[in-house]
Symmetry: C2
Subunit: 334 residues, 2 copies
């Protein structure tokens, strides 16, 4: 590719041969509740801590995605994984249970797109045959780490989002039947100097716009090429901003745009802007969108998970929020 | 490759065309002090916080590695980066200053090997031309985050290691002169149920042994093939354990083994087992080993950074320490 290009075209496009999604009770009560493979009844899921419950969900998603793909654990070459907890303990403590190589990634809530990209590189390059891409988040462990322990009952602001409790896992393979990952447009770190950690949608919208504009410019595709343009978790306000930024750049995607964060909880006002977290857009892809692709109700998706790259320390030190968005094209080939 | 293989052979091996290392004052006083490109005089480096000082080092390493490689920032397609701070703020806040795509990785102190592997995949697959791989750590920010704030003056245990203050950056390219990355052996997450967070060498040695044994088995190479077998930061005691584990498996590497952590501070008793941290083996590679490769004093290195994948939370919850080691072969080709 020429320098300046952020888009990778996979010569040998990997097939997504199976997916699995597991979510918490609140997600189960939302409009997509019946589509998830498993809904846990309580956030603790019989574990002594929320971190251990998150780990159990992560592991559960991997085991059952492999099973749903018709494979055995011994068929998996590598697990590519990430999560939001400090030092990514959900990923590393889950993966130690599997006899596979491991690549740990962190780009906050956009991690699943990075995992799909690197998994596709490994399969397209004929290095590996089957790869599990997995991410998760948990409302209770995320609140404790990023904000306040739940026990304090701290009020939320109108622009805040609600971290999704959920884990999604997809199996990429060098053969089989299913939609394929054909391209990835890597993102740049964009900082619009938003410093309100309760308004991540505003921090992430410019990064999403940048990656989407770049994708269409470099691939010479038009928005109508895709049946759905699916962003990660900009939330309701962040989605409005994205559409405005894209319109200013001459791209009208309103009719085919879907933001996983804005939709996952439906119109539940107590969830404010909607969902977020590394599990949010992943569980939506692994259920609702994967089902639609398999049934050929839609055939081409541009999937753009978004991530806010701050930490509690950086916010306390007065820093703004850098953000990133990685885009992946998933297509049913004829 | 056949299933069961953890080793990737890069068809088009990327060239390491330039490196840059920057370290803190203690590292500068060590036996390799004169080999580093830059030694900062004070850990704060004129910044208002240790985190911001680490970020400045990280950024400085990227800027100067690009310069030393004879390139311009606009030549760099992607920055692949990781660090030890929560939510990897060193990486994301550094990278926002550059107009390049970004891939964030986390595998603790073994992150640089993961970065070299993914960078090599991107170049070998002809997707990108020039990539910066960078990692860092800072003693003062790491102590505050993983253990206790320095102000408390907490005593250290005999098996503890000293997080290296330093950042290293290497530029991988599809052309140019220099040693090449020919192979990578991905690691598995190995947990020997060590739960003493002050004894990371013991937790990481089995992971290093596993990856090294796998590398020799899969490549059918013998230890004599390499001029140096360089582990990350097992420290003095961890290195002894590694040599014992390898000897039990029939591999004698004692004469060519070098552990960056055990050596970086020389025999300074106050550093106990030696150095650690995502910057440790990276600054050693970017200075001492890269110089030796360039001068052809050595021609073949197996580089095996090691990582301990725990967090403060997992330790407090009584968990043991899972570990990983990724191996990368770097060779001067005739």
């Amino acid at each position: 590719m020429e320098k300046g290009n952020q888009t990778i075209i996979f010569e040998k496009s990997p097939v997504i041969i199976g997916t699995y999604s597991i979510v918490g009770p609140m997600e189960g009560k939302g409009p997509f509740g019946t589509l998830f493979d498993h809904v846990i009844e309580k956030p603790e899921w019989d574990e002594p801590s929320f971190e251990k419950a998150e780990c159990k969900m992560h592991r559960h998603a991997i085991i059952h995605a492999i099973e749903k793909a018709g494979l055995d654990e011994s068929d998996i070459d590598s697990i590519i994984s990430g999560d939001l907890l400090n030092q990514m303990i959900t990923s590393s403590y889950s993966v130690r249970e599997f006899d596979c190589t491991y690549l740990g990634l962190y780009s906050a809530c956009s991690t699943i797109a990075e995992a799909m990209t690197i998994g596709s590189l490994l399969i397209s390059g004929k290095h590996f045959k089957n790869i599990a891409c997995v991410t998760s988040s948990h409302f209770c462990s995320a609140e404790r780490q990023y904000r306040y322990p739940l026990e304090l009952g701290t009020p939320r602001t109108p622009l805040s989002q609600w971290t999704v409790t959920g884990a999604g896992c997809m199996i990429l393979s060098d053969k089989g039947i299913g939609p394929k990952i054909t391209m990835a447009t890597l993102g740049k770190v964009i900082d619009y100097k938003i410093s309100d950690v309760n308004n991540m949608g505003a921090a992430m919208a410019p990064a999403a716009a940048h990656t989407i504009i770049t994708h269409f410019k470099e691939t010479k595709r038009m928005p109508v090429y895709y049946d759905a343009i699916v962003t990660g978790d900009l939330g309701k306000y962040g989605s409005e901003l994205l559409l405005k930024l894209l319109k200013d750049a001459g791209l009208d995607v309103a009719s085919r745009h879907f933001d996983c964060g804005a939709k996952i909880f439906g119109d539940d006002e107590k969830k404010y802007q909607g969902g977020s977290g590394a599990g949010c857009c992943n569980v939506m892809f692994c259920s609702y969108f994967y089902n639609k692709l398999k049934k050929r109700e839609i055939n081409k998706i541009l999937f753009i998970p978004t991530g806010a790259l701050m930490s509690k320390i950086s916010s306390l030190q007065g820093e703004s929020i850098p953000a990133i968005a990685q885009a992946v094209a998933i297509e049913n080939m004829e």
